[in-house]
């Protein structure tokens, strides 16, 4: 058994956990983050990617709305490179409730969410696909956020301040002694080794898994696991976030991201924290609803469907057990008060927009426990430094402006070494992924990260396999680099199989139209041209 000594263990490598790691590290508190899978494999990458302005909560949940608008402003300052400041529209349709409209306008005014009405004619000119059933359109400071980029930017910042993390490391139990938590026992899933991590404080930030973590020591936290299904269209249907101006419900948000649009969501209570499969019924249901905002939605191509689990916090006295009714606020549970165990805290609920605030609250609590006077600086210090213009110019020269800008956003300060590599060996500037414009040099760079254990991990870092081909071409193109990193053809072939199968899970619920055709092409490429053996299907 390997022994590790630290001051704080953070369980969970989602946005909240990594945000906490950054905050603690900036305060000089040694911390180790443990994650059972890859970073961001759960809710932090399985959402619509909307940075809320708070408009969605303006009527029902003014506290959440207020937190959203405040955090929205902060993130636009500290994480500009992870966001696209698209603005968002709330669209009021002919048959929608006029009372809600009035309440909404009042709510926005009270919570300080700036609202500007867009004349209809201009709205239709700016967003031609918007339904002609729209009668009023209001603009709010919504934006889109790339959950992966945001998370990695937090991680790099945390590392700079001494924060450490380990992925594929599953916590097995909490280590309790005399009413105090003394650390955790965990297993390194990559080699089976057991770890005994000693710490003064343990933070449970495991999102949908946080009830499981607490239950390891018999503690009860109330988490409602609320599954939301989403669809990915192959293009930008809109240039702004489009919300429907009505009581928040299913299928009323379109969010443009890079070259695609994400549309969601649904809300279904589920048992398992990783129940990510979307079924065709959810898809049909969403498409019906989507018709309200985009006429002839069926003309557009869907790349895939995916689902995430919202870990909604349910206080013990909550009477409303419906997913949408539960507050999107978060709660910090001090288990000393609840269960008589010192040093253990659970952070529950919340949403990606407020991840930083949640991290701040947790870190304040930790700092108080440890008598560390340092205060939170995460709202002021940007996640990335100003990028050197020489690097940027050189990158543009070598691989073109569009590709260079995308790469700089993904890599920030680390772009320098990649640009150098391409300058030395220009053919490394060839694209592996043409949708996301990922070069060979960038893939090689990402593969050097010890946390990349598989092609799927690589996908989360580089967006390889997320575009139109869904991995058919770009995984093939990553062959020489994978071979070098993972060693051996057998292993590479195995990686192809598992990535394509992972992508397939999201494609099967929307298997029609051009995506079906694309899938036939992928099958032809892999099973005929490259001669991969067919698998016997089970059952």
């Amino acid at each position: 058994m390997r022994e590790i000594d630290t001051q704080v263990v953070v369980i969970g490598g989602g946005a909240t956990g990594v945000g906490i790691l950054r905050d603690l590290s900036m305060r000089g508190i040694p911390a180790l983050l443990l994650e059972q899978g890859d970073l961001a494999h759960g809710t932090s990458s399985r959402f619509h990617g909307l940075l809320h302005s708070g408009g969605r909560y303006a009527v029902k949940d003014d506290k959440a709305a207020h937190e959203c608008i405040e955090e929205n402003k902060i993130l636009k300052h500290i994480a500009a490179h992870c966001l696209e400041d698209t603005a968002g529209w709330f669209v009021y349709l002919k048959e929608d409730d006029p009372n809600y409209l009035q309440l909404w306008l009042k709510g926005c005014l009270q919570t300080g969410i700036p609202v500007k009405e867009i004349p209809l004619e201009e709205a239709f000119r700016l967003e031609p696909l918007l339904t002609r059933q729209a009668t009023r359109v209001f603009e709010v400071p919504d934006a889109t956020v790339d959950g992966f980029k945001l998370l990695w930017a937090n991680l790099r910042s945390a590392q700079k301040y001494g924060g450490t993390y380990q992925t594929y490391c599953k916590v097995q139990s909490l280590w309790l002694e005399n009413g105090h938590v003394s650390g955790v026992y965990a297993q390194d899933l990559s080699n089976g080794e057991m770890l005994q991590v000693h710490s003064e404080i343990v933070v449970n930030a495991a999102g949908p898994w946080s009830a499981e973590i607490a239950a390891m020591s018999g503690f009860d936290v109330h988490i409602l696991k609320d599954k939301g299904s989403l669809l990915v269209f192959n293009k930008r249907l809109f240039n702004r976030v489009i919300n429907r101006l009505r009581t928040p419900g299913d299928g009323d948000i379109f969010v443009p991201h890079e070259t695609v649009t994400i549309f969601g969501t649904t809300s279904t209570e589920v048992e398992l924290p990783d129940d990510h499969q979307v079924d065709e019924k959810d898809v049909s249901y969403l498409l019906d609803l989507g018709q309200n905002l985009v006429e002839e939605l069926e003309q557009h191509r869907i790349l895939r469907a995916f689902a995430g689990i919202r870990p909604l916090y349910e206080s013990a006295d909550a009477s409303d057990h419906e997913g949408r009714g539960v507050s999107r606020n978060f709660a910090l549970i001090d288990h000393e008060k609840l269960d008589g165990v010192r040093g253990l805290v659970s952070i529950l609920g919340g949403k990606l927009t407020t991840y930083r605030l949640m991290a701040e609250k947790v870190s304040d609590w930790v700092a108080a426990k440890l008598d560390v006077p340092a205060v939170c600086r995460t709202a002021e210090e940007p996640l990335q430094n100003e990028l050197a213009t020489e690097v940027w110019d050189k990158a543009r020269q070598l691989i073109g402006t569009a590709a260079a800008d995308k790469m700089m956003e993904r890599l920030n300060e680390q772009a320098g070494t990649v640009v150098e590599a391409i300058a030395r060996q220009p053919l490394l500037g060839q694209f592996v992924c043409e949708c996301e414009m990922v070069t060979q040099a960038e893939v090689l760079h990402a593969l050097q990260d010890p946390a990349v254990h598989s092609l799927d991990d690589l996908r989360r870092q580089t967006r390889l396999g997320m575009g139109t081909c869904q991995g058919a071409y770009c995984t093939y193109r990553a062959t020489p680099m994978l071979q070098e990193a993972f060693g051996g053809w057998e292993r590479v072939a195995k990686e192809y199989r598992s990535l394509l199968s992972e992508r397939w899970r999201g494609i099967t619920p929307v298997l029609w139209g051009e995506q079906l055709r694309e899938s036939e092409l992928a099958r032809a490429l892999f099973m005929s041209v490259l001669d991969f053996k067919a698998e016997e299907s089970e059952g």
Partner: protein
């Protein structure tokens, strides 16, 4: 009035068109593009024909072994470079792994593993989607005991381009190897390799040069000049990745074969509508006229027979609408066999949706799956439009397309 109008200019449609023209029929191919021919690796797969003929409703059940052999002979007749051996034959994939193939160009057929030779992989500078290290490692693993090495080969015309880090598609390299300049570069390189080996002393090993992006086939004497000189070492082709130079030259060659025999090809044409009426004395109808949109104009085309070769799901002949609310055959709106279960959870499994297609009688005339009745008397359905098969898991894509295309031409 045409003897036959073939809708679709992919493999099956071209084979039907060529054979019909060769038989002296007045034939027209109407096609939007070249179908999936540009994905053609250079190899025809027939699969385990005897076993597949036992699979209920598989297209092979429509043909006897003679018909299958006829199709195969026809490919060899029009492409003399294609060989069938008694022994099973193998070729390199673009990754350097080894795959079986039933009908392939002789210069693609791998030597016997027992021969203990040496492979020299020629790597064209900047060749896109080609990974020499992986290929060398795979070749060495597949041919234990063989020496495997890689050598760069550069073409002056592309030097400035690749120096900038720009890659070159295999389609472009193939064109170079088929040009006079390219041939000279290649001949010099191979001669150099040969000399090096002679200087190094006598080695009993057989030396085989392997060159990706090389396409030595599909020359038609009237238009293109084939290789004049033989090289001093044997040169092996690899099967192609997409976009495939084999597919490109093969598609062109097939088109020329149709027209050389007096057939016609209309590319960029889409069928908009049709006219037909009940045949007297039976229930089946006869399609007499196709309305085709081409170059912004509508044309009326009349034919005695209509051959439908529009390529199924991948070729675009079957359109599946959102939520599968509509599933249509795009030209004649033929009734389709649609499997109940649509997909399997594993990507690499035999997928039920692949079985979608038109059910036919033994003359490949479309049937209504519900009644079992022929719906069009003078329509024959071929290639990927046929129901109840999966070319990728059953490895019989070339076989079904060639056999059905050839057989349909015999019915005109």
């Amino acid at each position: 009035m045409w003897d036959a109008i073939v809708v679709g200019g992919g493999l099956a449609g071209c084979i039907a068109g060529i054979r019909a023209a060769q038989r002296g029929k007045k034939v027209l191919i109407v096609t939007e593009g070249v179908g999936t021919l540009y994905n053609f690796s250079g190899i025809f797969d027939y699969g385990d024909v005897e076993r597949l003929r036992e699979v209920p409703k598989h297209p092979y059940t429509l043909f006897d072994s003679q018909a299958i052999a006829q199709g195969q002979n026809f490919v060899q007749e029009i492409c003399p470079e294609y060989v069938v051996n008694e022994k099973r034959q193998f070729a390199f994939t673009v990754l350097g792994t080894v795959r079986q193939g039933d009908l392939m160009p002789s210069s693609m057929v791998l030597p016997d593993r027992q021969e203990q030779g040496e492979f020299v992989l020629l790597v064209p500078e900047g060749l896109k989607d080609f990974f020499p290290e992986t290929v060398v490692a795979n070749m060495a693993r597949e041919f234990p005991g063989w020496l495997v090495s890689a050598e760069k080969i550069q073409v002056e015309a592309l030097a400035a381009w690749t120096r900038l880090g720009k890659n070159v598609s295999s389609i472009d390299y193939a064109a170079i190897w088929r040009s006079k300049e390219g041939q000279k570069v290649l001949a010099n390189k191979i001669e150099e390799l040969n000399r090096q080996r002679q200087v190094a002393g006598k080695s009993p090993r057989k030396v085989v040069v392997v060159l990706p992006s090389l396409v030595k086939e599909y020359y038609d004497a009237s238009r293109t000049k084939p290789y004049g000189n033989e090289w001093s070492l044997p040169v092996l082709e690899m099967s192609s990745f997409v976009p495939s130079p084999h597919g490109r030259y093969f598609a062109e060659y097939l088109k020329h074969r149709v027209t050389d025999w007096g057939g016609e090809v209309m590319i960029g044409a889409r069928v908009l509508a049709l006219n037909g009426e009940l045949t007297s004395g039976s229930k089946a109808r006869e399609c007499q006229e196709l309305i085709v949109q081409s170059m912004g104009k509508s044309l009326s085309l009349r034919g005695r027979k209509i051959i439908l070769a529009t390529g199924g799901l991948l070729g675009g002949g079957i359109k599946v609408g959102m939520e599968r609310k509509s599933i249509r055959e795009g030209v004649l709106d033929l009734p389709l066999f649609v499997p109940q279960e649509w997909s399997k959870p594993q990507f690499f499994a035999a997928q039920p949706f692949a079985q979608i297609g038109v059910e036919t009688d033994q003359f490949m005339r479309p049937l209504d799956p519900a009644s079992g009745q022929v719906v069009w008397d003078n329509v024959h359905v071929i290639g990927r439009m046929l129901a109840h098969w999966d070319p990728w898991t059953q490895k019989c894509g070339g076989g079904v397309s060639v056999t059905s295309g050839y057989a349909a031409a015999e019915l005109i």
